[in-house]
């Protein structure tokens, strides 16, 4: 059984390590430094940490001002508060001004759990993906979250990274490569491809294992970058397997699935099934109960693969 660690922990630890040598890194929060793990950085480098109180719009603007003085601000909150509440500021101050600001948000998806629908952000990929210049990353586990943290700091310009509250299985190794915009094939298969991100990747691997018993051979891709989407890998997977299933802890519209079908419709149409939240809000519950309720479990991926394969 794999270890389970929230990806926010991977980010929180790595940003402290990066801050040791890179004095331009300036971490900011709107009173959620504890929950986002930005507090690790606050405790290590109090002079390069700032909270603006509960004021997400101000958080974005202040960060942008700091970036214009050469700092690399990393702003941390819950996904729902930054991407929804401060959208106009992210669009205009960060993206339109091409500011070198990194947005790192935890508490996305139904695995936020007991806090309920108000805190379960299910639209962050869609909101961030449509903004020019913004890149969107969702690491699969705590190890990948460290590498993604390195990548968003070293690349210039706007970045959005979704981290998790819930503990996700650790499925990658320290030695695995990570490059923004390059998906990773985790399991080779010939009958269908599951393209997943975040917690849905380990569920996809579980589904593939179970489908193998039915002699359905499934290719599994960890698509940790939702934008820029890895067009070449998606097209190659469609050519190789002829059917695609997308899986994400996000609304069915506009997220990873949306990005994948945009590629397929333009370059290589094949049958697609989308495992995602079906245009509804979440609710209070344990993460596993909610994954089951919103059809985000391995057995839902299994059903989607069978359906996609039948449509070939």
């Amino acid at each position: 059984m794999a270890d389970k660690i929230p990806t926010r922990d991977g980010f929180g630890k790595r940003i402290v390590e990066l801050g040791k040598d890179n004095e331009k890194i300036f971490v900011m929060s709107a009173d959620l430094e504890d929950a986002t793990r930005a507090e690790y950085f606050r405790d290590a480098y109090p002079k390069r940490f700032m909270t603006v109180g509960i004021a997400e719009q101000d958080l974005v603007g202040t960060a942008v001002g700091l970036s214009m003085q050469g700092y690399i601000p990393v702003i941390c909150s819950f996904a729902v508060f930054l991407t929804n509440r401060a959208y106009d500021m992210i669009r205009l101050d960060i993206c339109y001004n091409d500011a070198n600001v990194k947005i790192v948000c935890s508490h996305a998806g139904v695995t936020v759990g007991q806090d309920g629908a108000s805190a379960q952000c299910l639209e962050d990929f869609a909101l961030m993906r449509v903004l020019p210049r913004m890149r969107v990353v969702c690491p699969v586990d705590a190890i990948e979250a460290k590498k993604a943290t390195d990548a968003i700091i070293s690349a210039d310009g706007p970045m959005y990274m979704r981290t998790s509250r819930g503990a996700f299985p650790v499925i990658t190794k320290e030695s695995d490569p990570f490059e923004i915009g390059k998906g990773v094939v985790l399991r080779e298969g010939t009958d269908a491809t599951v393209i997943a991100c975040g917690i849905m990747v380990s569920s996809a691997l579980e589904a593939a294992e179970s489908l193998a018993k039915e002699n359905i051979s499934v290719n599994v891709i960890n698509m940790h970058t939702i934008k820029p989407i890895d067009t070449d890998l998606i097209v190659a997977a469609a050519q190789q397997t002829g059917a695609i299933v997308t899986a994400e802890e996000h609304q069915v519209y506009g997220g990873l699935g949306g990005a994948v079908v945009e590629v397929l419709a333009q370059h290589y149409p094949v049958p697609v099934e989308m495992v995602a939240v079906q245009d509804t809000f979440g609710q209070t519950g344990a993460p596993q109960e909610l994954l089951d309720e919103y059809h985000l479990s391995p057995r839902d991926i299994v059903a989607a693969v069978r359906k996609a394969v039948k449509r070939k």
Binding site: G53, Q57, D58, G61, T62, V64
Partner: protein, 272 residues
């Protein structure tokens, strides 16, 4: 106090007002009301408020100015051109395809620090710039021009609290208090008064000035240069559409271009 040549600045203001109306007329759209109200504020800033160098707009030691009321692009561009940041040959391009003179304030124009256009953004950015400068032991001052209607945006008050909490005393907000917004008088739409007390209660030092009088503006800007311990706001009392009789105080001239006859009448008024 720096000696200022009031007469030459007043002449500059007339030139700027005419050019503001001309570029809006030529674009057949734009925002004359809140541009005409901000002319003396902007001229004062570039004449004796900011440390700046038109020949080197990216000069590291310059003071910063964020135009948070990004619809005042005609005033911003025309004043920058009159301080020789760029050539007036660009004027016919205002609001036209391919021009550097974008509809709302944009960094394509030399001298512009930040792209704006959505209200309530500038003050947070100014705070961040000021904090960044301070951490690097620079004495950069950061100015932020806000509209009066703009401060109905809640984000302005988030920024006001941040500046006070962190004692950002090298930030100067300037409110173009022309008392009129797009759909009517500010006091009828959502009143700001008591405006000075609001800012004081938020922890700011406040001065009221006549935003069309250079001596008064200079007093306010000099007070800011001596300012310590708290952020500083200049409430510049102005007249919407200042200088053109039929535009003054009229909300309908917030965002409308003059036609040929109206332009002619306005230019003739400004010449006398």
């Amino acid at each position: 106090m720096k000696e200022i040549d009031i007469q030459s600045l007043e002449e500059k203001a007339i030139v700027c007002r005419k050019e503001i109306l001309q570029i809006i007329h030529s674009a057949a759209c734009g925002h004359p009301g809140g541009s005409l109200s901000a002319v003396e504020i902007l001229i004062a800033l570039y004449a004796f408020g900011l440390r700046h160098d038109p020949k080197n707009p990216q000069w590291e030691e310059r003071d910063r100015l964020i135009i948070s009321k990004g619809h005042a692009s005609p005033a911003t561009y025309v004043v920058l051109a009159n301080f020789e940041y760029f050539s007036k040959d660009e004027y016919p391009g205002y609001r036209k395809f391919g021009s550097i003179l974008q509809g709302h304030v944009h960094r394509k124009v030399p001298g512009v620090e930040f792209n704006t256009g959505s209200l309530g953004h500038g003050l947070s950015v100014a705070n961040g710039m000021a904090l960044g400068a301070k951490m690097q032991n620079k004495d950069t001052r950061v100015f932020c021009l806000l509209g009066d209607g703009e401060i109905q945006e809640g984000s302005v008050w988030e920024a006001a609290m941040t500046a006070a909490h962190h004692n950002i005393d090298h930030v100067c907000a300037i409110i173009d208090y022309n008392k009129v917004q797009e759909n009517g008088p500010v006091k009828d739409i959502k009143a700001l008064e008591p405006l000075a007390d609001k800012w004081k209660s938020f922890g700011w030092n406040v001065v009221d000035v006549d935003g069309h009088d250079y001596n008064s503006l200079q007093q306010g800007l000099d007070d800011f240069k001596q300012n310590k311990g708290k952020p500083f706001v200049i409430i510049a009392n102005t007249v919407k559409g200042k200088g053109v009789s039929f535009m003054e105080g009229q909300s309908k001239w917030h965002g409308k271009a003059p036609n040929d006859d109206q332009l002619k009448k306005a230019l003739s008024e400004l010449s006398t």
